[in-house]
């Protein structure tokens, strides 16, 4: 998204061009328009715009995309709950 930028060089997003079959699913589903189909392959055109939602990886039939697999809505309280749960060995509370 052009209006709102978050932290650069942080999102964990990897596209394997060798596995890519050029179906264009990633370019369709990405809500931040991170991907573009160029010829027969998808390319990442805005890596820093990625919010790690995983829509691309979920919809890649060739499993060519890797996104941060950690579960989390990305809210601080949820992450803190997880850190505490890991320290105390209990299960984390759900999200809002």
């Amino acid at each position: 998204m052009k209006d709102f930028r978050y932290l650069d060089n942080t999102a964990i997003l990897r596209l394997n061009p060798e596995k890519c079959i050029g179906c264009g699913n990633c370019a369709t589903v990405c809500p931040h328009r991170v991907f573009e189909l160029r010829g027969k392959k998808a390319v990442i055109i805005d890596h820093d715009g990625c919010m790690e939602c995983g829509a691309c990886a979920t919809n890649c039939p060739a499993a060519a995309i890797y996104v941060n697999p950690d579960d989390g809505c990305g809210c601080a309280a949820y992450i803190i709950n997880h850190w505490i749960a890991r320290l105390t060995g209990t299960s984390p509370k759900g999200c809002c």
Partner: protein, 328 residues
Amino acid sequence: MARVGSRLTWRDRLGTIRARFGISRNRYKINPGLYCMGRPTAKSPVLVTANYKLSFDALRQELSALDAWILAVDTRGINVWCAAGKGTFSADEISRQVTRARLAEIVDHRELILPQFAAPGVAAHQLPKKCGFTGRFGPLRAADLPGYLANGKQADERMRSITFSFGERLVLTPVEISLIWRPFLLVTLALFVFSGIGPDRFSIANAYSRGLLATGATIMAILAGAFVTPLLLPWLPGRQFWWKGLLAGSLAGLGYILFNRAACAGLEALGLWAWIVAVSSYLAMNFTGATPFTSLSGVKREMRLGLPVQCGAACLALCLWIAAPFLG
């Protein structure tokens, strides 16, 4: 099978407001299954959504000129985006509802229109094998659905791009504030107790008067971090949310101690200011979970900076506040 209209009644609108304020939000759901909108035929499109009533209402109010089938999948009353992230809005769940509704006997075509926000949870390419229907991702916003369908189911860049306008940020603030009422009560209780500590061991008069000051500061911090920061998000300097909240809190804190300069000054005022900065920064940082553009990796990274600052400022504030009566 239920027929639904596109017009929202005052009850629906009241329900929307309640949900936005976090009142019974977890129970605001409809039965999953197939619904008719207008007078759909075997050729009418099938639109898939979540069984959170807010999602359902947001969809149907845009369809006044359409005849369509609406398939509400069981997301336990959670909205499309969160359910997709959690995995409850999935190809499996869609298949379950398609089978349960016997959709193949109702429509001639074999296509489901899915909300684009469901993509993190729905591997659409798995649908044909699971239920015999293909899944096609429609636009992000229900308002664009009529245009999308009229345009041969083609979505342009705008239809597929997220926005986060002032209005979109504003509607998120009530629930953010409603989620903190329990911690707020606990903190307020603690602040009243701490406020009474002094050279006479415990003074109820102090607990009351100083407690009120401290609680006012907390409320100021909530307004700065959970209301003003989200609204002014693009204009507050810095990319990290804890920093934006710190700035907003600094100004709010300054305003608060100036307003109350008759009642407290010096170290006490500094303590109140530091408290407002800490709480505002934390609440702003927590807002990351409600935005459509922050990444989990990014939030973890900024928490490593923000949390120590917030804890440090809160500790300083508490020390100053408790020590002040002893220092005359």
